[in-house]
Amino acid sequence: MPKWAMAIDLDKCTGCGDCMAACKLENNVAIVDAEQAADDRVMLWMDMMTIYEGEYPNIKLKRIPKPCFHCDNPPCIKVCPVHATYKNEEGLVAQIYNRCIGCRYCMAACPYTAKVFNWYEPEWADEFKTCMNPDVSLRMKGVVEKCSFCAHRLQKVKENARADDREISDGEYSPACADSCPAEAIFFGDLENKESKVFKLSNSPRAFRELEDLGTIPKVFYLSEKE
């Protein structure tokens, strides 16, 4: 059984924000208006963290793209009263919108604030409704959503591979962010496949995970040279 994971090379990432836009477009993530944004209700499946280090003028600025980490031991699934969020066999932490009752316990439980809540009925101008991605269902007001590692792409890839009667090759399944990254900083693949790029990167001396001591075992690895 594959175990899907991501590696983000922070030495290569420029923080251009392309992954954020690619993600919003691919996953039909609703866009809030100015007033709602002022209330901090912007929904980003792929967020960007900014960290300043050092004393002026010797400042280092690091921008860190932050999707859902799809933890191997996810705290969010334990608190869900309705089994709307769970970890599947392939290690994807799923969010099933039609089960979600909007209690937001999972949001509180997630130490990485990866989940977002639909505070409003998603609104699009009529014209924009024509260009929604048909592979991803639209969410309604009152449910929690988050990065799915573009699970719908996995379904397509699985279909392709099985139709041709072959295994999924490394790099074939790739979320929108990894696919589009101009710095080629995001890698995606199967952690169980010892030949995969992600497996190799996860074992790199540069690899680390966010808040590792919490025991959540994130499946998103960051790579950064310790300077």
Binding site: T14, C16, Y52
Partner: protein, 822 residues
């Protein structure tokens, strides 16, 4: 009767177009609101992809558009297109929001209220084109063809630019302009090296990169091209990889990714560059061989009349002692020493100059000072240095047979030509253009075409330009949405968006190889719009035979085919495909192979439209005279071109005398005297207002030039770096914040003598104390429901100041004060 449908289908290739279906019946689900179900109604979901060129900004990335049942739903980078190699920037993704924008102009509009009144009336294409062509014919017949002016606010690196120029030439008006003019930005390279082109930088082979305010990962001509290169540079370990040092007043995206950020006082980059030159010269770290054989004016020299002149070296040694430079720039002397030594000891090392350095009253001299470091290092046409790419072998448009009306029109002085001594080197000065229209000098403008661009939002003199627009009897705007500028137009002839139109782009400035990208419609036009190029073709046939002959094409698509055919016949380069990658190409070429082999032009055309473009990474061998097109045939530290240009102005001012020289230099904002004027040097930026803080502005990747403001996704992601969504913010250093009693996320006023804007303060150490930075892009007063009234426009605080040599707006030359709001 038996029909073998299977066979029939085989003959057809199994192709039956997209099939629309009835509605989804969702009666059995009660948990999803009906409205959302409505959203998901669509056809059978047949997927296809089409390659084209992104039109969100002029960077010209190749994109692949994913379509479901013929409707675009996703955009990603075209992995085979060599400029962006599958990469994208955030703004590229929102091209769909431009295509499906609810505020698009759906048919030609005629203004019925006063300028800016937002009262429009629908008009047919036939009637609107008749109004325009009648007016143009009338002017032409009465010998006033020159009174028609054309502003192209879009990409200048494409066929469209040539197309418009051809039309205006054949019609007989000298007043075709592009803005912001890239030729203005090439002035420093022209002065030093005689090349009217933006250089490309071979960063991949450099060991050390020193960037003076060149925000090439964010604001450059092609940020994604350089992001790809940056990513490749970072493949190596910290010890071995190329070092990037960024000098900038604020921590730009490039600075954030640099190994070191060196903060500098705005407007003083030239002093720092020459301080670095000082160290290179003193410590003999410069390339003596190159300087001796290929440069002019490094040492003191004597002219033909026996007059002695000081050279670059003496000027630098006398005036740019690091301690002195430190006082001017705010950069510690030891830092200057360090970066100069690193630059000199890690060859090949390369020096870049850009936005921060260029957009100021002293921009030309600053860029000259920066570029002269490349000459000191012997970087011209060297691996890991600077080079200029070849022009693609596209067919020239047919040569024009001028009739009398055209000839007499073209003989007239250009409207944009300055009346006083300013802008002697500018290709196009918006300032002079506006002033001249207001004063009817040298003649009034009767018709103005504006293609894309939004001067009433983007330019420093937008108040003046609004008045100028009011003065012009017929203003015709070609754009897809109504913006600040088109509100002042008399007619709006709506253009397609980039996903609906044909165009061809070639050689994006600073990209390191020759290339041509084909933009093609991925969807039929949604509304009653037309490609402006086709409108021009129509107009030219309506105006008269002599104009029509200059553009003998039925459609713009045919014109592109005509132009591209020469790529095919030239036998050079190759269509961008998966198999044809750089190293392989070079291998083949070296062994005398023709890399692209196509049986016919039709095959070539089919492939180029399928794959998105053509490129040629192999540059022709350069001779010395190709490299240095100056009068001395060398790199001129002492720019004879500049001397010539300024002397011309002095002659215009009443003859060569020290008196006149003084007058001219003053008009040009040059405070230096003597030979130093013609050498790269530091000019003080004069700021009259007595305010404590510098204001700098910049473009974000989410909204370049303010054009993405009508796209909700880009408005939301606008300030993703600081989590400011749908909002303009000002970045200030904690020191500045403390001195003004401001803390993070306070609302503050940023105030200049011209006005004030209310923005959110973001306090972080990524900016020099004494500097406020406000991103450009928001603060629209028009441009649709998503743009209007959101955020603030920093340009509204800036005075009408320019580099008086090349006409580039001085975006870093304003001082402001800040205070807590409410």
């Amino acid at each position: 009767m038996e029909i073998q449908r299977r066979d029939f289908l085989k003959l057809l290739g199994g192709a039956s177009g997209a099939i629309a279906l009835g509605l989804y019946g969702c009666r059995n689900s009660i948990d999803v609101p009906e409205r959302l179900i409505e959203l998901a109604k669509r056809g059978p979901g047949i997927e296809s992809w089409k390659n084209t060129i992104c039109g969100q900004c002029p960077a010209g990335c190749g994109v692949s558009v994913r379509m479901i049942d013929g409707i675009p739903v996703y955009i990603k980078g075209n992995p085979n297109y060599p400029v962006n190699r599958g990469g994208m920037c955030p703004s590229g993704h929102s091209a769909l929001e431009m295509l499906f924008n609810p505020d698009r102009i759906k048919n030609p509009q005629k203004r019925i209220g006063v300028e800016g009144s937002r009262k429009w009336e629908k008009i047919s294409w036939d009637n609107s084109l008749k109004i325009v062509s009648d007016k143009m014919k009338e002017l032409r017949n009465s010998g006033l063809a020159h009174q028609v002016a054309f502003l192209n606010g879009n990409a200048q690196n494409g066929l469209m630019d040539k197309h418009f120029a051809q039309f205006m030439n054949a019609y007989g008006s000298p007043n075709y302009y592009s803005f912001p003019s890239i030729k203005n930005q090439t002035v420093p390279y022209n002065l030093l090296q005689g090349v009217e082109q933006i250089p490309a930088y071979d960063l991949l082979n450099a060991k050390y990169i020193l960037s003076f305010g060149s925000n090439f990962l964010e604001e450059g001509y092609s940020p994604i091209y350089y992001t790809k290169i940056y990513s490749q540079l970072r493949d190596q370990s910290v010890e071995r990889r190329t070092r990037l040092v960024q000098i900038d007043s604020r921590m730009s995206l490039t600075a954030a990714n640099a190994d070191r950020w060196v903060p500098i006082k705005p407007g003083t980059y030239a002093a720092l560059a020459l301080g670095v030159a000082y160290v290179l010269i003193r410590e003999e770290l410069y390339n003596k061989n190159f300087v001796q054989t290929s440069t002019f004016g490094f040492n003191d020299w004597t002219d033909s009349r026996g007059k002695s002149h000081i050279g670059f070296m003496k000027n630098v040694i006398n005036n740019y002692y690091p301690e002195e430079v430190s006082k001017i720039t705010g950069v510690p002397a030891e830092t200057i020493l360090q970066i100069a030594r690193d630059l000199g000891n890690n060859k090949p090392s390369v020096v870049l100059g850009g936005q921060g350095a260029e957009d100021n009253t002293n921009g030309t001299f600053t860029q000259m000072a920066i570029y002269s470091l490349n000459a000191l290092l012997g970087n011209i046409e060297k691996e890991g240095g600077v080079y200029f790419v070849d022009v693609p072998p596209l067919a020239e448009l047919p040569s024009i047979v001028y009739d009398e009306a055209a000839r007499s029109g073209l003989e007239k002085t250009k409207v944009a030509e300055s009346n006083d001594y300013t802008y002697p080197l500018a290709d196009f000065s918006f300032d002079a253009f506006t002033k001249n229209i207001l004063n009817d000098k040298p003649y009034p403008v009767s018709v103005l075409f504006i293609y894309k661009g939004n001067p009433l939002f983007q330019t420093l003199n937008h108040h003046e330009f609004a008045e100028a627009l009011k003065k012009i009897p017929l203003v015709v705007s070609f754009d897809s949405c109504i913006n600040e500028t088109s509100e002042y137009a008399d007619l709006i002839l709506p253009d397609h968006t980039s996903l609906e139109k044909w165009d061809a782009f070639s050689n994006v400035p600073s990209v390191g190889f020759t290339h041509v990208g084909i933009q093609q419609p991925v969807i039929n036009p949604l509304y009653d719009t037309k490609n402006t190029a086709d409108v021009i073709l129509k107009l030219s046939s309506m105006i008269g035979q002599s104009v029509a002959n200059a553009l003998p094409f039925d459609t713009y698509e045919k014109e592109i085919r005509f132009s591209v055919e020469k790529l095919y016949t030239s036998g050079e380069g190759a269509i961008v495909t998966e198999g044809v990658k750089g190293a392989w190409l070079e291998y083949l070429q070296q062994r005398g192979w023709q890399i692209g082999r196509y049986n016919s032009f039709d095959e070539f055309w089919k492939l180029i439209t399928e794959n998105g473009g053509w490129w040629n990474p192999i540059r022709k061998q350069k001779k010395v005279e190709d490299l240095f097109k100056t009068s001395s045939g060398k790199f001129e530290f002492y720019s004879k071109n500049l001397e010539e240009a300024i002397n011309n102005v002095v002659r215009k001012a009443g003859g060569e005398s020290s008196e006149n020289m003084k007058k001219v230099l003053q008009a040009l904002n040059i405070h230096t005297e003597g030979d130093a004027v013609f050498l790269p040097h530091y000019e003080v930026v004069s700021i009259e207002e007595n305010m404590p803080l510098y204001l700098v502005t910049y473009n974000l990747l989410t909204n370049r030039d303010g054009n993405s403001s009508n796209q909700p996704m880009m408005q939301e992601l606008f300030g993703y770096t600081v989590h400011e969504h749908w909002n303009t913010w000002a970045e200030i250093n904690p020191v500045t914040a403390k001195a003004n009693g401001i803390s993070d996320k306070n609302l503050i006023w940023v105030e200049s003598p011209l006005g004030s804007i209310k923005v959110t303060a973001r306090v972080n150490p990524g900016i020099m104390p004494g500097v406020v930075s406000v991103p450009f892009g928001m603060g629209h007063t028009s441009y649709g429901r998503y743009a209007k009234g959101i955020g603030s426009n920093p340009v509204s605080l800036m005075k009408n100041k320019y580099d008086k040599l090349n006409g580039i707006p001085a975006l870093q030359a304003t001082k402001v004060k800040i205070s807590l709001a409410n």
